[in-house]
Symmetry: C3
Subunit: 402 residues, 3 copies
Amino acid sequence: MKKALVLSTLALLISGNVCAKTWLLTSAESGVEQGNWQVTSQQLKIKDQTFSIEQKVLHGGKQEGSKIITINSQNGLTITLSPTRGMNLLRVEGFGVRMGWDSPVKEVVNPAYMNLESRNGLGWLEGFNEMLVRCGYEWTGHPVTADGQIYTLHGKAGNTPASQVSVDVSEKAPYEIRIRGLVKESTFKKADLQTEMELSYIPGSNSFTLHDVLTNHADYAHDYQIIYHSNFGTPILEEGARFIAPVESVSPFNDYAKAGLKNWQTYSGPTKGFDEMVFNFKPLADARKETVAAVINKAGNKGAAISFNTQQLPVLTLWKNTDTLKQGYVTGIEPGTSYAYPVTIEREQKRVKKLEPGQSTRFDLTYTLLHNASQVKDVEKRVADIQGNKAPQIIDTPIAKE
Amino acid sequence: MKKALVLSTLALLISGNVCAKTWLLTSAESGVEQGNWQVTSQQLKIKDQTFSIEQKVLHGGKQEGSKIITINSQNGLTITLSPTRGMNLLRVEGFGVRMGWDSPVKEVVNPAYMNLESRNGLGWLEGFNEMLVRCGYEWTGHPVTADGQIYTLHGKAGNTPASQVSVDVSEKAPYEIRIRGLVKESTFKKADLQTEMELSYIPGSNSFTLHDVLTNHADYAHDYQIIYHSNFGTPILEEGARFIAPVESVSPFNDYAKAGLKNWQTYSGPTKGFDEMVFNFKPLADARKETVAAVINKAGNKGAAISFNTQQLPVLTLWKNTDTLKQGYVTGIEPGTSYAYPVTIEREQKRVKKLEPGQSTRFDLTYTLLHNASQVKDVEKRVADIQGNKAPQIIDTPIAKE
Amino acid sequence: MKKALVLSTLALLISGNVCAKTWLLTSAESGVEQGNWQVTSQQLKIKDQTFSIEQKVLHGGKQEGSKIITINSQNGLTITLSPTRGMNLLRVEGFGVRMGWDSPVKEVVNPAYMNLESRNGLGWLEGFNEMLVRCGYEWTGHPVTADGQIYTLHGKAGNTPASQVSVDVSEKAPYEIRIRGLVKESTFKKADLQTEMELSYIPGSNSFTLHDVLTNHADYAHDYQIIYHSNFGTPILEEGARFIAPVESVSPFNDYAKAGLKNWQTYSGPTKGFDEMVFNFKPLADARKETVAAVINKAGNKGAAISFNTQQLPVLTLWKNTDTLKQGYVTGIEPGTSYAYPVTIEREQKRVKKLEPGQSTRFDLTYTLLHNASQVKDVEKRVADIQGNKAPQIIDTPIAKE
């Protein structure tokens, strides 16, 4: 087995159209499984960029057997994701900035040790520490018991080990790196939703892109929901940090958030007893339906921006969890098809989408780590341009009651 | 560790009475654990048959760490089972025919990634793709909440890793191969039901036999139930395929199945919206209580037959899941002690059996892959002989309401 | 990977203050993971004691991947614990006596295969076979549905793999051995209770000590509960065996236990249909709040004693499970902060403790294997001294109703 793995590491495949090298790290179908694995720009005889891509098997506690893949670009970003946890992004670092946060959950919890049904459907919280969790696709949102079952918090994709994982490096400058994972939500009689997730990164750059294609492989139409739960703490988040996005309207998620409605665009420092406030937005977009949302620090020289398409992801949730540092001082910027209400409410309010048999839908998001004032200004200008002279409509009342 | 495993692979034991070679692949008690392992007829210096027996550890997605054992008989059957999934049989192939089916669940799901309680007790469906699942033994049937707990769909045995697994090859022609597994349902205060499962196969033949011995190791009497959930799709199942069995009576499982009662002996092709119809039978048997049930293709030259004993397995369920190919086009022929009703109904109707302290009971089933018209005719004749001139009684009304 | 592990085995660290050798066997933080591992007194060039410490990875059934660590002292005790199961102690043997018992659960069940929520919160019983399970710390006691969630039987710590495990051997006589484990109950928004567990043993001796430090790493105060569920069967437990402890009062746990109140100090032999009787005690202690409880055999020459501090562990539960041998003939001596009632009752009756942010609390218990009449007499004398001339108050009525 070990030998076979080593061989397949060496077996570099040439994919015809883009002239890239491909490594298959995991394949349930063909039985491939790399454990610890690495490739470097040096091995690839690339001289004008220095980078490595490494897979590592983690151990200890509830992360026993979890795998992480790290792209390390010497003059760019270090991006860490976990195939075992549904290709979730753990953290992205570079240029002295970090996208991600510090959860009290420190381990990359292997879903084998998770029970999503525990804590009345809040079991998901026992593994939550990522910069990005894809919350979906069979369902998402706050847990609810309906149709006789618990719809657990934020669905299952983020706690489903990827069935197929591969790494691609383009042989020509700018040496685009792609990490692909296939996450299956396949249950006899219930669902056959499969998502091909791709992260694409050009070494040296300060942004990366996700291209996710969700396909309903069943012969029946199936509902789906997705929230790109993207989470940022220090050093971007701080007292006086700001949330910016072009929006048609903003409303508080629940009664508790009403008190924070006026200040939806600014953040408090770590605040004991704050817990969390959530706001729902209808985002505005440009003519191509492209838009952007960002959190930027007080000085305006650090930030994290997410570009997305409102045809793909029509709603936006802002999660202000400006609790103390130890509790998890973090804000979530969450483009989605749904708000974080339980699926029952999302259904009532017609935000649950449907895929016909064989139909696919895609989600493309670009995450940019902003590390100087000029980059921050560019995003602010983009937000202002899309916003134009429409003032955001402030709606006092939550659109739903859990 | 690796070295120790290799050594124990070489340590072929001679079991006295049958002059067979035995390999211990897994033993919780003695700490033995083979990973990938193989033995071939060539290694055993057997010349008049060509076969191999191989254990493989699977990887990727939710099958990470699952083991499968494959018997490959060059001029006979290829039988694949999974010790990790309670010795369930995944598929049996040979003579251009396949016993098994295509579930949307493609992976051999490691029970570590299962939550049987999820989906209100239907979590079992997240791993269901086998040709045979033993549904039991602590309970079986549709899920129900009773006595304050969920009795999850079809019990736990099929999602319990075997505690002890061994392979036996007789040194003399016809070189009988036996794969044995021990599956424990042992819970302090609750149950100590242990099942020694044996699959026996003679290389080159078109049938194999299961010999399962269930023992109540507790000092108190304990209920048990078992359904041998045996599932067949293409190429046997097709429009015009037929179900044959000598039966005293047939009744629809529920109101939905009433509509299909008249045609209980024939199958539709893949039919969108069909979902499933289930029929309950009282099987007839010969003087030795032996009987047979089979599904045969339209042309009458392919089929799968199950011989069983009605003293051991007094009832028979027919599951017609002639939904589309992608959804899982499949029929279940399910000899059992119980029908598929929840344990509460099975108790009321006195089909739940009991084992006294230390008592054992056995279940012997022979599965035959029918690959020509003459074999099919033999089974048809056997069915007709047992049926004699009694007409099956058609009962219009379900015997129970879930 | 394998190589790295071997190297770190050799990398003996000198910890400054006690001049001990330390081996890091598991570290989620630094990615260290030893598989099978051993160190012997011979390797350490220790001549006046013969001992070994070994870690072993178990396989088969539901113990696949579980680790155990065994201290084997040639003229002392053999102590076996499992890092995978929250540092629980499986059994302690020596001097012809055994502390531990025989559960129908034989495997060291990997928590990956557990579902604590199953059986209406009694899933814990599927893995219970230890001499000591730490029942806590987020909650403990009988299961109850409250605040919309199931508080599962005896909490999660005993089914949580340790995040960090190390072994320490003092380089000077008496060569104290310490095994340390860190068990985290860290859930975003819910809890960040972490327990540093230490077992300390001097080779050749007949006792060992647990030093557990529980810390609330959250920024909010958090409840905790703990029961040291310590379990003893044959050869100590037998008809005529006695439970001794200095107590202020004893009361039956429930109505069923009333019948056994008179004989709380003696045990029956294995008794079919006995099930279990539970008694609640307020223990007496000496001026330093130290006390002891013990079970001793009929002849008074074998026993197991637990010394603890009533400021740390103010209440004591006696669990008499003198059912048949196969069912698990066992008594639990359970010092704790709580009785075994559901957390709801423990809260009402003010036994649930609280830790302020950053606050730690410690629990120190010494377990002594008594292997001759003189040792038993010493414990009896200690109990009598603490009891003095106060007679235990016999309270007829349970203090609570489940």
